[in-house]
Each structure stands twice: as C-alpha cells, then as structure tokens.
C-alpha cells in the first residue's frame, strides 16, 4: 500500500476540501448568530407585561416628528425658600 492516497493529494481534491471546510465554518457562524438572536428576542418579549405592544420601529407616516429629547427636564437646582424675604421680590410667577 502506498503511504499517501494519490487521489486525496490531487490539487482539485484539496481545493474541494478547503471549500467544504469554509462552508462548514460559515454555516456554523450563521446558525450560532441566529440562535443567539432568537434567544435575545425571546427574552425581550417574555419581559413584556401582557397586553403591552412594543413601540413600532418607525413612527406612523402621518405622525409629526418632533425633535429628539421629548422628556421634560428638571432644573439644575430646585427653587430655594426665601423666608422672610429681605426685600420685596422682583418678579411674580402667576397665571396670565
């Protein structure tokens, strides 16, 4: 028996084997990514309370698009009491 298989050492066969290995690696990567994505999405949807519909990825076409940051922001410092005032206040905040 020869030490090596002449057919297996043929360049075309080696190219085929390398190609099969690459296809195998890519297939494994795709399957792993898909499984991870499924797990993440599943966990997110399990975390939603019943009846809650996740917001759409995009706003309805008819809805206006106000700028980002649609949350009212608190002041850096809350108003501080002035009692008793050392002098008459300079302005009044009241309904108008």
């Amino acid at each position: 028996m020869p030490d090596s298989d002449p057919l297996h050492d043929h360049p075309a066969v080696r190219r085929r084997d390398r190609g099969l290995r690459r296809v195998g690696v890519v297939t494994a990567a795709v399957l792993t990514t898909a499984a991870a994505g499924t797990a993440v999405l599943g966990a997110e949807y399990r975390g939603q309370p019943p009846g809650v519909v996740p917001p759409p990825a995009t706003a309805p076409a008819s809805a206006p698009t106000p700028p980002a940051g649609s949350t009212l922001r608190p002041p850096v410092q809350a108003p501080v009491p002035v009692a008793p005032p050392s002098q008459a206040p300079s302005a009044t905040s009241g309904a108008s």
């Binding site: 009212l72 608190p74 009491p81 302005a91 009044t92 009241g94």
Partner: protein, 322 residues
C-alpha cells in the same frame, strides 16, 4: 432706594397681551438686554400670534396648502409638538378651534366677559394630525385644524430672550413674560427672588410664598386669570384636548420649575389638565412643583419648598373679562 436695596435693574412694560419684566444683574447692561428682549418679543409675536392676521401662524391656519415656516416659527412648532409628545397630548397645539368655541376667539381684552349663549365644546383634531417636517420646515394642517401655540410660544420667547439678553449684557438676566420666567447667566448672590401667586399681575409684595431661583425656567398656570362666563359656566384658557372643554376643576394654580421655561410651562399646563394624575406624573419626571387646589390647600413635590403660610383664597378683584 437705600444702600441695601437690590442692585439689579428692573424694567416692566406691556407685551404679548401681558406684562414683560426684565431684571438685569448689572444695571449697566440694561440697554443691551432690553434691546434684545424687545426684538425677541416682536419676532415671536410676528411668528406666533393667533390674533395678528399678518403672523405666520394666522397664515398657516387659514390655508390648506403647505407652507414653509420661518426659523423662529419652526422652532415654536417644534417646541409645541415636543410638549404634546412629552405630555401624551395633555398640552396640544391644535386646541385653537376648541378655544374659539369656548369664546376665546379674539384678543383677551376683546373677549365678552359674560354671554348667556350656549357653549358647545369642540374636540381638537389632535397634534398627530399636524403634517410637519422640521428638516424642511414644511407645515400642512388638515382642513378645520388650527394651531394655538399659546402654551409654549411665550415660554419659548422667555428662554430665547434670557439667553440672548444675558450674552448681550454680559451678566445675569431674568425675563418674566406674564408670569413665565427664564433666568440665564450668573444670578445675583441670593438668586432671583420670585413671588408665587395665582395671578401674575399680583404686585410682588412678598406676602405669599417667595422662592429664589438661579437659572432655568419657572412657570405658573392656573384658572384664576383669563376667565370668562358662557352659558352660566365660568370658563378659562386651559383646554383639555380629550374633550375640547375646560378640565374638571381640581387645581387652581400650578407652579413648576424646570430646566427651561418651555418645560416648566408645559408641565404646569399639563398638570392642570391631568387633574388627579398630575402628582404622580410630576414626581415621575422629578419636576419641583407647587399645586394649589381650588379650596386653597397646597401640595408640593420634588423639593419645591413648603409654604410658610397657607395659600390665600382666589382674589375677588377681577381684571378684564370674567
């Protein structure tokens, strides 16, 4: 003035159908700050007035074709729609027809104080119907829809004017427009002392609660000012967009402090509309606020200082149409 009197200057004049107050920490900066404030008020009036036929707002409300907004009008629309989103529609810029149906269809000075005619509330179309592209500044309103930027435009003017006036004057400035105020630049050592009242026209005597602010915005909304009678009911200028009618009476006056005057005024108006749900909502946002019920009892949240004396009952002296 004595040697211990306030060093800052105070300038008061009528504007936007109400009163403008300008405080400048360094009186030498007053002329520059005043020039900036007057220019800002004229610009916001020309862009956003509901009662000027030549305003951009009036033109937009009376055409069905798309219009291109100028930069300031666009900023005001952005602010109004942001307020609507932030309040889940409790502050809605499409309440113009609702306000007109309640009788506030002209400048407040011209509103008939009493009219026995029936009132038929009109629900607004809703802010989501406004076709607005902030990038191209293209605005199109569905037929029958009218914008009313009253809840945010005045506050926006206060924010813009305070920032620009502080830069022009090179010192701290406070701008107060009908009780909605914004402070910018370095404040005086003890801050700006502000009286809290049901009506902005109450002279700042210090008899009621007084707070000190150093920056950002502070605004008060309430039902004690700008009210009138129709069909045996007392109406006012705050509309619940869900019904097109005035909200159920719970809060007489709500004052809120926020990062800007627009945010403060948005929250104060929304609190009046939200009624019993206002306290939890304000706490969730971390906004310091003082809420006065119709019976005069007061609740404060998020670090707003407690009153040292109980709130006074609503003033009997009535100004303008009621």
């Amino acid at each position: 003035m004595t040697a211990h009197a306030v060093r800052h200057s105070t300038t008061t004049f009528p504007a936007l159908g109400t009163t403008a107050v300008l405080l400048v920490a360094d009186p030498d900066g007053t002329p520059d700050a005043l020039r900036v404030l007057r220019a800002e008020l004229e610009a916001i009036d020309l862009a956003c007035s509901r009662f000027r036929p030549d305003s951009e707002l009036s033109r937009a409300n009376h055409v069905t074709a798309p219009v291109t907004a100028g930069p300031l009008f666009a900023e005001a629309i952005d602010a109004a729609l942001r307020a609507a989103r932030a309040t889940e529609g409790a502050v809605d810029p499409t309440v113009g027809p609702s306000m007109a149906a309640l009788g506030y269809d002209r400048s407040f000075a011209s509103v008939r104080p009493v009219d026995d005619g029936p009132v038929t509330p009109v629900r607004p179309a809703g802010w989501c119907t406004v076709d607005w592209d902030s990038r191209t500044r293209r605005l199109r309103l569905p037929p029958g829809t009218g914008l009313d930027l009253g809840a945010t435009a005045k506050a926006l003017a206060a924010d813009r004017a305070a920032e620009r006036a502080a830069q022009a004057a090179g010192c701290g400035v406070l701008v107060c427009l009908g009780g909605d105020l914004a402070a910018a630049g370095p404040a005086p050592r003890d801050g700006w002392q502000v009286a809290i009242a049901d009506d902005h026209a109450t002279p700042p005597s210090g008899a009621g609660p007084v707070v000190s602010v150093t920056g950002g915005g502070l605004a008060t909304s309430g039902t004690a000012a700008r009210s009138w009678r129709r069909g045996g009911r007392t109406l006012h200028h705050i509309v619940d967009p869900a019904t097109g009618d005035v909200p159920a009476p719970l809060w007489r006056t709500v004052s809120v402090a926020a990062a800007t005057c627009v945010d403060a005024n948005t929250a104060a108006t929304a609190a009046i509309v939200r009624g019993t749900r206002a306290l939890g909502w304000l706490r969730g946002l971390g906004l310091p606020a003082r809420l006065v019920r119709t019976d005069g009892s007061v609740t404060v949240v998020c670090g707003w200082p407690e009153d040292s004396s109980p709130a006074r009952p609503p003033a009997d002296s009535r100004r303008g149409p009621r």
